[in-house]
Subunit: 353 residues, 2 copies
DNA sequence: GTGAAAGCGCTAACAA
DNA sequence: TTGTTAGCGCTTTCAC
């Protein structure tokens, strides 16, 4: 049977994996050492020898055993990515962009994810999975893991946090400037004339990003002379919605949500309660990632996912490059911390009072 | 300096990684073998010895080198997942559910993704990355990789395709029943009285799922006595939209899109063109994953992501379990192929003629 | 240009 | 119960 047109054809009846360099070397009539060099194209070897080795490797369907290779070489070519549950489009997009960017820069990423609701144990487990692989670097895109858990490894492997700010020393970040986001949205709402506003957010231990946004909203609103009702809810976007609408009936003219998910929940509830948006109540969110947000006319803020992803990967790449320091407890290289600001999307769910 | 409350504290000034079993063993005054056993809690050892070893390991911040461990053990505990670009919520959700399910069943997943638009080279590269890690199994959740590329490895490692149907032998699947989805949506549109319909889809090489849906739509519509205009567009959801609206002006009363993304594009364009939905034209999509789809009133079909994810992981787990066969080219174990049907979501974007 | 030899860190019989 | 002994598959000096 002739092999298919694929370049991955393997021996007729034979294996393909579990073919070792030794097999390839033997088939080509050279030693393991030569085969290794020729296969990765490094070191010295005769061009024609390489050709023969490559041909045999392909014929046998050889796939290098990465574990053995990296173990022997003592280094790793991949960067680990810890990701939060990607069912949230904001994380899905971040994931996608991190991946693209890494690919563009020639970095290999392996990802482990953690359920959105998981507690410490699972996070630590995931961290260990990655560290156990002796990844060359770590990009952390989940708030669920604490600085204390990361810090012990910060001087052994570069760690870049993506999305969320981090105060621990030695851990670099490329993060969203959530306080600014809150401020921008609040300013918009103030400019529309609202002076009695509900701020609906997840509690700080549920979503730190939401907490930062909400705090900034509150401050800006208060500074602008508005009366503010701050509602700290649980993770489920429907939580706190009833209270928010109750506050509206008591005179609030706008509900500012710390995320688009909550905004959607508020709009659903408003519709169900017969309140018109923005007629009876203005509503704002934050994220701006949802496809279709424009059709809904969401008033939100588009977070700079692309910029954060690019910066995170770029930082990682730089940390991985020709410098080799900090083997002692040096502060020779300072911690990189970059914040990125998104753009306001006015929409039609918020109108002048 | 006392260590933080974290359970990951490492030696004061010392490393944490690059601590080996030998170090732990030495510190505890035992041999490597004993340390290994105690650390993984298998085999024989004195409880008090274990306690001492565990304590030393923690004190030193020991993290087992997975590569070495799996290389030595000759097996791997992780399953590889090949994923398509997660910026599409449908894939993001599938990813999330696969992850959850794997976790529930005690399977470790490592993921590599491929950009949505990447061609063969990148796909093969990703496949090799996973195979190089000698993963115990492979779950493929991207249509970008062909059966021909997968097949050579099908008898060396269990492969389960998630989402898309597969005809190659030896490759199991848990997939969406897209033809049924197309039929269900078309039946709905027929039942609303439409007899002049545009079907807007990605070409088969752009999205096989869309192609399957669109084909079924067309057949069902034709069988129902409708006149059908089939538009095969490129990957970008805006492609083909103008043609679709042109057809509407020529008398079509409904535009059936093969995905929700295209549906959104059509709605945007309709709005821009001053056509009311569903007044002037009914529009349908397919996926039903978008948060906020309900607020938009999208007429769509919710694909059974959860069922597919659960089935894919369950199949994988079963393939990984106590049976060990097919070392020869046996057909002893038949190929598992499960199709799942979603549920119609009527919405308000499609109305009676 | 090529090969021989010594491991990388860990596991798994088998002895002790 | 614990230690000894071989490797897993690959890379990498260092001679030839």
């Amino acid at each position: 049977m002739s092999s298919s047109s694929s370049s991955l054809s393997s021996e007729p009846g034979g294996p393909g994996l579990r073919v070792t360099v030794s097999d390839v070397a033997a088939a080509a009539g050279v030693s393991r050492a030569t085969a290794t060099r020729a296969l990765k194209g490094e070191g010295r070897f005769a061009p024609e020898t390489q050709e023969r080795i490559l041909a045999e490797a392909e014929r046998l369907g050889y796939v290098r055993n990465t574990m053995a290779a990296e173990l022997a070489a003592g280094r790793t070519g991949t960067v680990g990515l810890m990701l939060r549950d990607a069912s949230n489009p904001a994380y899905g997009l971040l994931f996608s962009r991190l991946q693209d960017e890494a690919h563009r820069r020639g970095l290999d990423l392996v990802t482990v994810t953690i359920g959105a609701d998981e507690q410490g144990a699972e996070q630590v487990n995931a961290l260990h999975r990655l560290l156990g692989m002796r990844v060359a670097g770590l990009i952390v895109a989940t708030g669920g893991i604490t600085a204390a858990q990361l810090e012990p490894f910060a001087d052994q492997v570069p760690i870049v946090r993506a999305g969320r700010v981090e105060t621990a020393t030695g851990i670099h970040t490329a993060h969203y400037d959530d306080p600014s986001h809150g401020t921008m949205l609040a300013s918009h709402v103030l400019s529309l004339g609202h002076r009695n506003v509900v701020v609906l957010s997840g509690a700080s231990d549920v979503s730190f990003a939401e907490h930062l946004r909400a705090s900034a909203m509150r401050e800006t609103l208060v500074a602008g002379g508005a009366s503010v009702t701050l509602l700290s809810a649980g993770a489920a976007p429907t939580e706190g919605v009833d209270e928010a609408l109750a506050a509206v009936r008591d005179g609030a003219t706008a509900v500012m949500c710390a995320s688009d998910y909550r905004q959607l929940a508020v709009m659903r509830a408003s519709r169900a309660a017969g309140l018109s948006v923005p007629g009876d109540v203005s509503v704002t969110g934050c994220d701006g990632i949802l496809p279709g947000a424009d059709l809904l006319g969401l008033t939100t803020l588009r977070i700079p996912v692309e910029a954060v992803a690019a910066a995170a990967v770029e930082t990682m790449q730089r940390l991985l490059s020709p410098d080799a320091d900090s083997d002692s407890d040096s502060d020779s290289e300072s911690t990189v911390r970059q914040a990125f600001v998104g753009t306001l999307v006015p929409g039609t769910t918020a109108a002048a009072v």
